[in-house]
Symmetry: C2
């Protein structure tokens, strides 16, 4: 890393993620996009050698719109990553790129972090037992209540579509065991705080856990036994929030689909999902490549694309960088640097 980093430009730190996946490719593509402002200092945390190799390989495939690693500020970390796929060496390097990136972003107030996709299996094989990057971020920042929020800005209506997950990377059978009133309250607190940065009186929706939100106990008891009450109690303490729920999960996101597509549709500020796929299925289907993963509750802004490592298409030059571009743009917006976004 050279001495340019001491200037006052807004800094955005990028960890490349798993190098045997599409992380390096989408970063080189995104940093060359017209949608990304020039007046930002990007600090890429990864292997300079690997980034250069990726660049040369993609050029040899005929790709031209790529940032040249020679022109990037790279915090160079070299590990012995020679194998491909689910290998512990890539698990180890991607883990250390992330922890170094966190260290750097903590040094600069008002900077932000964008993380490339990692492979949990490779982390596990390398002895790094975290359920995901979010959990590493929480630990290294010493915070307990963080939230995995997915956010996307509709290119049609400009509406921002937010879905927060109550539970994240756990087996489906664990979900009903882990959900509690306290957990719901802590996520609603985070969600409210996040929405308050851009609207005074947010409207939040909460999905039920069971089909038809339990249909009064016929299809599951959680709503009737405690979830209904949990929402009432929280809303009593937060009367300025319009809180709706628990709603039938299978129609809860219909209004989001409409708000995404139609200017005149009723808008809401966010939906709290009970589990990973309940929130991510509608998010991805509605927003496709525009969806961005962001961690709320951290001392800095962190975003990432909403897809995985894409091992099956790595090295082919066909990875789409739109979600990485959106992750960078969302990080810029959320650090109140929207003025830097010269497009859209």
């Amino acid at each position: 890393m050279n001495s340019q980093n001491t200037n006052n430009k807004f800094k955005l730190v990028l960890s490349v993620g798993d190098e045997s996946g599409i992380g390096p490719e989408i970063i080189l593509k995104a940093l060359c996009s017209d949608e990304i402002p020039k007046n930002i200092e990007f600090i890429v945390v990864g292997s300079k050698k690997n980034l250069q190799n990726t660049y040369n390989h993609l050029r040899s495939l005929g790709l031209k719109k790529l940032a040249n690693p020679k022109n990037l500020t790279i915090y160079d970390l070299e590990f012995n990553s020679t194998e491909s796929g689910y290998k512990s060496s890539y698990g180890n390097s991607s883990f250390h790129y992330l922890t170094k990136a966190i260290e750097i972003v903590k040094q600069y107030p008002d900077s932000a972090l964008v993380t490339g996709p990692i492979c949990k299996k490779s982390w596990s094989q390398a002895g790094h037992d975290f359920a995901g990057q979010t959990e590493v971020l929480a630990k290294l920042c010493g915070v307990k209540n963080v939230g995995m929020l997915f956010t996307a800005k509709s290119p049609i209506t400009g509406w921002r579509f937010n879905t927060l997950l109550t539970t994240t990377h756990i087996a489906l059978c664990e979900v009903p065991k882990i959900l509690t009133k306290e957990l719901i309250h802590s996520k609603l607190d985070l969600f409210k705080e996040f929405c308050r940065t851009y609207i005074d009186t947010p409207t939040l929706k909460v999905a039920g856990l069971n089909p038809h939100a339990g249909e009064e106990g016929i299809l599951g008891n959680e709503e009737k036994d405690w979830l209904n009450d949990a929402l009432i109690t929280w809303n009593e303490k937060n009367k300025d929030i319009k809180l709706l729920g628990p709603l039938s999960p299978d129609s809860c996101w219909n209004s989001s689909a409409k708000a995404w597509r139609e200017k005149d549709a009723e808008k809401h500020d966010g939906i709290l999902a009970m589990y990973h796929d309940q929130g991510l299925i509608p998010m991805k289907v509605i927003a496709l490549n525009y969806s961005v993963n962001t961690t709320i509750g951290l001392p800095f802004i962190r975003t990432s694309p909403d897809h995985g490592t894409g091992f099956d298409i790595a090295g082919k030059g066909i990875a789409q960088s739109q979600s990485m571009i959106e992750a960078i743009k969302a990080a810029i917006e959320m650090t109140n640097n929207s003025r830097l976004l010269n497009t859209h």
Copy 2:
């Protein structure tokens, strides 16, 4: 019911569902729609008095495009349904409308059944302990292996989007306990048979149960322990089917969203979902009012709109009948009576 019913016209039996909901309203609206062919004999099973009252009330609100019950063939069943909402009287009448409708459709070969929405809570209060209409249909037809399939025809591309549920109306915590290799195989058998009525070599996708389809056991064991093998074993016996999965649930339906919107997108013939909301969330978000519920594995065709009773909007005249129209059209198509569809 008058003597006209003995003619040779294609017969479509409609049960009105719960009369304190939007069932009667959407039936009167749908039967007047230009999308519904005239050369069909509709037999409505419900209360003549209630249908007439609904008609008069909607007319008084200014609605004009409504079928007049006086001109409909109604199998009139009168119960003492005077209360509103989740009441056992409506639970009792809607249950008997369904069982009578099943009896009628069984009398006429090649006829079909379309069912209005019911309220499970009201059924339960009236002492009819079934998880849903599908379960009543299976019992009264003496079949065990039925499937709850959601189907929608894209008005943009003409592609038919099918999602079959492995488990249906059960609490989320029951899902991992009930899923077995045998259950998956029986649903794939049904799905194959259904798809075969219109394509020789279907492509079927199967969603995983856990986030990222378990990510090799990191986020759940079902895929690794038996689901992967279950799909391989089934495919070995059904080599003419292109079977993909278990796929990451949160991206499994992305290709459906594209195929719904874009003519050139890759098409598949169906997705097997592990549970109710996993399948219905993407179905509704992608197809909105075009989605239809159909029961496969019965001796006759049965469809229904994919929404509930709509108690909150009943009597207001604002219920959308598109899903009921699609349910009728799908029943016509699935009984090989497409020639009767003079529009679309």
